[in-house]
Symmetry: D2
Subunit: 266 residues, 4 copies
């Protein structure tokens, strides 16, 4: 079997570095090029932290596609670059696997049409952590049988917003399938304001911020005499790489664009 | 909507008492009779612990079916009685919901044929705790993406066997879908024998026995930089009642026999 | 060794029933009488749920003390009765072990003086669950080394107030020893109000209310690269009995009144 | 207040790098020198990963002490070097804070005598994670009240030995204070060998090995109707630095040698 030829855009970012390592270490993957804002014409191995990993650096993505003819583009850049790269990749017949956010519904519609015209796959995923995707999927499934649920998410204390995006997304996925319900005792009262957490469609969300933690979430369902808890722990950003790997393998078999890893996980 | 007419066999057992309470409290359920080894002809309300819950007691199940014409039989007796009751119920056109074990594959085949001939449903479930069923289902789904998994089950210290039946079943469901894998470091060694737990097809199982605990299980998946944990806590036997309720509602719509609650949960 | 002679006030309440069982089953304890609002002169064994447990029932506590001369009174009644019984017990030279709340500082002072005059022990404990007491004690100890801490408490959804008394008490014990600190990022912001929970002196408290749960609490400390979690689970009210037993044994050796089980636990 | 003058031996090891960072970032600490096997006479800032952190490098520890006169030596080298450095430090009046293992009882006795002769402090600690020390301390305290306990430790799957040193130490500390007890049902039986884990003096220990995990331990106590759990998570080796910091501050006030961080934590 020939290896899948991969170009990576954004190799020097945190996620990009992990992706370079992933592609380098995976037997049936081959790193054919990287796209960077700088260092055009150099070898990646010359840069700090990439010793022994050879790949030509391009600042011009079109020339990269023309000369190295990758099967897949892994894009871990910024929302603006990501959108631009995705469109160009599809036009050149390169399957994009994109980890940036900021795509509008219009963008998705237009890019899907383009992927289908070209007859190739594309995957855009705001979250590549398979464990987090499974947690959300299981939470939605469980909510059909357990209508009482609370979410606790724990992050490091440098995080600015509460609740986390994943917690809000989980609550929304649950709200989509369970009958509307205001949980807790109808007459419950907070003697200290905020004790019962935030509310999203009757579901309570609690955000813990403590040094030492990374990114963790528990979805707790309660029923008569029982509890069902689904927990995801992200200990470091390597957690995203299993999703990138799965996406590269899957995108080769698609003839359309898929938005969200939950749609390629059964 | 007319309520579902229900007869309960084994009303004085631990599970039976819970089931009587459930049927009594559920608006669209009606308790039309109970089947007991004793007290023929009495009213259930006369027995200890059932005050206010009226239903005729039968020792003869056939006479019970003839006189009270239940839609559903909930059987929470013994393996022997359960098998006998299931067969009789189907012959009388009563849909059985059975919580006993001990059915052979031959039994299931024969009873399935009978249910289909009669064109009615039947549900036999060794475990009615929906949370435990979901835990097993989710564990099997996650095992496709995470091949490293260990199971910790915690029970009260009066339990004789280790690991629990649910832990063994979970390990088997996981082994059915993941590629064979011997986990842990190839050269790992126990300085105290048994530290790494029991092994089932490369999966490690750990059994905790402590006073105070009831029945709990964690399935822990580990991957690059992340962990996914699915936990079920059974705090008291009321945890089985949500599954009994779901089964009664579902059995009314079936035209065949279903073995195992996992097959009626999506 | 002669058994400790015990009278129990409030034997038919939930806690009282557990205490009767405890005293009955403990070899070096002897149940010599019970004090109830009703059934004067009957034998406890005649009442529902006490078969085989013999003890005379008194409605008059003074006559009970005079006739049965108990070493210890276990009082599990109401705040009003509890206060009255405690005083009478001390006057009659009976050591009170009291599980009711509602004692003022003045009450405690007066009763302490009385205990010391009589040269006997007395224990008043709003919480008899030794595990909960230890959790609070450990939390206070850990707070000297970890200044970042959040509390999550989980109770059944019939509980009216949030946070729980134990959570508030824990936060106060922590606040007593750690330097004042406002936790979390100075610029953190709630996109859903209440996400960060209640605040007590900079400590965040989160109250989960779900069916199936009983009474549980986690105190989570975070530090550089690490977390320390102390969790107490109360699965049923039997959890209080180890504290009652310890109190009966300890009160025999005291010559003063102790308020709070934390003061007899090292 | 003058800063504490600190020399670090082993600055290029994993722990050493963390310690350099700690000293550099702590206001009342001053890094006056490092001791390395190589690079004599260079500036630490010239080495990879230390840019901006200036300190002279010595290969000769005695010359280092003579020329830079540190208050404290932090030694994070090897058992052999650690022992040698500790002795020399004491002779030169430099307080050692040592993180290596391999000291015999004789070594400790001899070094303690030397520290007391010199009238200065010394701290040797096999484990600097304060959270882990507290977990062990709390476990020992709780074991006086809860005699049933099991230990679950979770580590990455590259760890070779099971159970972990911390788990074994915890079990020993518990065994020191609780009455001897063989836990579990007397007639319990393993249907899969090893399910009940390893045994240490009647205490069961379970070792989980999964990718993604770092170093975690739970000590679970069970009693009538309740459970008490103490858990420590070490997410990365920064967890050791709070203990190094505390040791440096404490060693300045001691006039003897302390072995084990548990003795300077109240």
């Amino acid at each position: 079997m020939k290896p899948i030829k991969i170009a990576i855009a954004g190799p020097r970012g945190r996620m990009g570095r992990e992706a370079v390592g992933l592609v380098h270490q995976t037997e049936h993957f081959a790193l054919v090029a990287v796209i960077d804002r700088k260092y055009d014409g150099k070898d990646l191995a010359e840069l700090d932290g990439f010793s022994g990993i050879h790949a030509p650096i391009y600042t011009d993505i079109e020339r990269c596609f023309q000369e190295t003819k990758p099967d897949v583009l892994i894009d871990l850049t910024t929302p603006e670059s990501g959108k631009y790269h995705t469109e160009l990749a599809l036009q050149y017949g390169v399957r994009p696997v994109v980890g940036t956010t900021g795509f509008t519904e219009d963008d998705i519609e237009r890019l899907t049409k383009l992927a289908e015209e070209k007859g190739i796959g594309a995957i855009i995923a705001p979250n590549f952590a398979i464990g987090a995707i499974l947690m959300m999927k299981f939470a939605q499934m469980a909510a059909k049988y357990f209508h009482d649920v609370e979410i606790i998410e724990l992050h490091h204390d440098q995080k600015l917003d509460a609740p986390s995006g994943t917690a809000a997304k989980t609550a929304q996925l649950i709200a989509d399938v369970r009958p509307p319900k205001k949980q807790g005792h109808p007459d419950e009262k907070e003697t200290l304001q905020g004790a019962r957490g935030a509310e999203y469609d009757g579901i309570r969300i609690h955000s813990v911020r403590l040094p030492g933690f990374v990114a963790h979430q528990e979805v707790i369902f309660g029923g008569n005499g029982q509890a069902l808890t689904i927990r995801h722990d992200s200990f470091h950003r390597g957690s995203f790489m299993s999703g990138v790997k799965l996406s590269v393998e899957t995108v080769m078999k698609l003839q359309t664009l898929v938005y969200g890893l939950e749609h390629i996980i059964e």
